[in-house]
């Protein structure tokens, strides 16, 4: 503990001493002060910590949004599977949502949900709907009639056929849709900074980072790696739960 006698300030409080001011001239400026410097390794090594929280925020946004999107899209798919008439309207509806630019969507929700994480999550989930829904429907449609007939012949009800035959066979395409949705969501989630929801966008757009390629590169690279990781994880999961399929079908959007 400091004894009052020993802790006499050298200067008056409120005054900084000479050493506080760093002499800066054009030549002595560090790497990061120059917007034209592509990547400053020293700075990056020292300051890598600051990407921790934004990365976590981005991670959370993506996971929550994709999970919600999947649940809703799955519900839609079950509905459309039952009532075929609904398929086109649902497809068109989710397609319309997907076409709307994310920034616009974030701010269209402004009068309703305000700024913040909820807004971002709602918008990001909405974006995943079309691709997941479309892929579930496509996967179900690709189940051969003969297989379904055989199942019916074995005495399975329609409901049992759906859950025990059609859906398992549709897994590769469903997971394919999930993969695409997740990768897209990671990319779009960088814009969450405009909805005040945090994420890696804060290291690209905030705090004058627009003139700081190093930060843009780091944040962008983390985002890309996160997306590719999710992709690989989902692919592995799919491999694990469909041991009867050797090659995965790549559903290009």
């Amino acid at each position: 503990m400091n004894s009052p006698l020993l802790a006499m300030p050298l200067a008056a409080v409120g005054q900084v001493e000479e050493g506080f001011f760093h002499e800066r001239t054009g030549e002595t400026l560090p790497c990061q002060a120059h917007p034209s410097h592509l990547f400053c390794w020293d700075w990056a090594a020292e300051n890598i910590n600051r990407y921790g929280t934004p990365t976590l925020q981005q991670f959370e946004l993506v996971i929550i949004s994709v999970v919600i999107g999947f649940i809703v899209a799955f519900a839609f798919a079950l509905l459309a599977h039952r009532y075929h008439l609904l398929e086109w309207p649902l497809l068109a509806g989710t397609g319309v949502i997907f076409a709307v630019p994310s920034l616009a969507f974030f701010l269209l929700l402004l009068p309703i949900t305000g700024r913040g994480r909820e807004t971002a999550i709602i918008a990001l989930s909405a974006y995943t709907l079309q691709i997941i829904f479309r892929n579930i429907m496509s996967g179900l449609a690709n189940v051969p009639e003969s297989t379904k007939d055989a199942a019916r012949g074995m005495g399975l009800s329609d409901r049992q056929i759906l859950w025990k035959v059609e859906l398992p066979l549709a897994v590769p395409e469903i997971v394919g849709g999930l993969r695409i949705a997740t990768v897209s969501t990671v990319a779009i989630a960088t814009l969450a900074v405009f909805a005040h929801a945090g994420g890696l966008g804060t290291q690209i757009y905030g705090q004058g980072n627009l003139t700081f390629p190093t930060s843009i590169i780091i944040a962008g690279t983390i985002a890309i790696l996160m997306a590719l990781t999710f992709d690989a994880v989902l692919l592995t999961v799919q491999r694990l739960i469909t041991p009867w399929r050797r090659a995965a079908s790549q559903a290009a959007a």
Partner: protein, 241 residues
């Protein structure tokens, strides 16, 4: 104002936005100069359309020939499909910011960045579309005496049209969406309303969001219509089954 008559606060938020779109509004920071109104909306929308079309054109010029070539030859699968995957993962904000910081602000760098975003989906879908053409058909065409180029043009391309158009639509969605944040880097599109709450007020922000959404949808519908026209009748019948 009329806003007070609306029953639900939800609609109140949008009513102000619609007023903003159609008539000029007062703004506290402009010292009397009005903002908003249909003229400005059209001006900004036009800029967004211009830059999006330009970028889309560049992307098409690069991606389709490449996709055709690799698809026809049957090689480069890792490149074409891998690029599609990786391209989807690129955060638009990072790309735009990076290009602005390194190359500069303005229409040319922006178009380049947008084209980069548009190339992956078009390339992948062109490749996949061509690959999906039944090999037997291609062999038959070769047997009949068509040149490689003729095969590409008369056999593979028409069959691949739905896939290619899907890729173009995907690219256009991405490009139009990213063009919205172009005001950050010197190209004033409808995003200016969204990003400039200080000048345009909340009404302006929501108005910008609405206009951007409408613009994006117009692009989507136009391309969907184009796809329908370009898809040969036989394929269309096949799809409808």
């Amino acid at each position: 104002m009329s806003v007070a008559l609306l029953p639900h606060p939800l609609f109140a938020g949008f009513a102000g936005a619609f007023e903003f779109i159609f008539s000029k509004q007062e703004s506290s920071v402009t010292g009397g100069k009005k903002v908003g109104g249909f003229d400005q909306v059209l001006e900004l929308a036009w800029t967004q359309i211009e830059v999006s079309l330009l970028a889309l054109a560049v992307a098409l010029l690069i991606a389709i020939p490449l996709g055709l070539y690799f698809g026809h030859k049957g090689t480069g699968e890792l490149l074409a499909v891998g690029l599609g995957n990786a391209g989807r993962a690129i955060p638009e904000l990072a790309l735009i910011a990076f290009v602005a910081a390194i190359i500069g602000v303005g229409i040319v760098p922006l178009t380049g960045a947008l084209a980069v975003l548009g190339i992956p989906p078009i390339l992948t879908n062109t490749f996949v579309g061509i690959r999906q053409v039944d090999r037997a058909t291609v062999d038959a065409a070769r047997g009949v005496g068509m040149s490689e180029f003729e095969i590409m043009r008369k056999v593979e391309l028409p069959i691949a049209v739905p896939s290619i158009m899907t890729g173009i639509r995907g690219a256009s969605v991405n490009i139009v969406a990213t063009a919205t944040i172009a005001p950050l880097v010197g190209v004033v599109t409808l995003g200016d309303f969204i990003l400039g709450e200080n000048v345009y007020g909340v009404d302006g922000v929501v108005a910008g969001a609405i206009c951007t959404a409408i613009l994006a949808l117009l692009f989507e519908f136009a391309l969907a219509g184009l796809q329908r026209r370009l898809t040969s009748k036989g394929l269309r019948l096949q799809e409808a089954q």
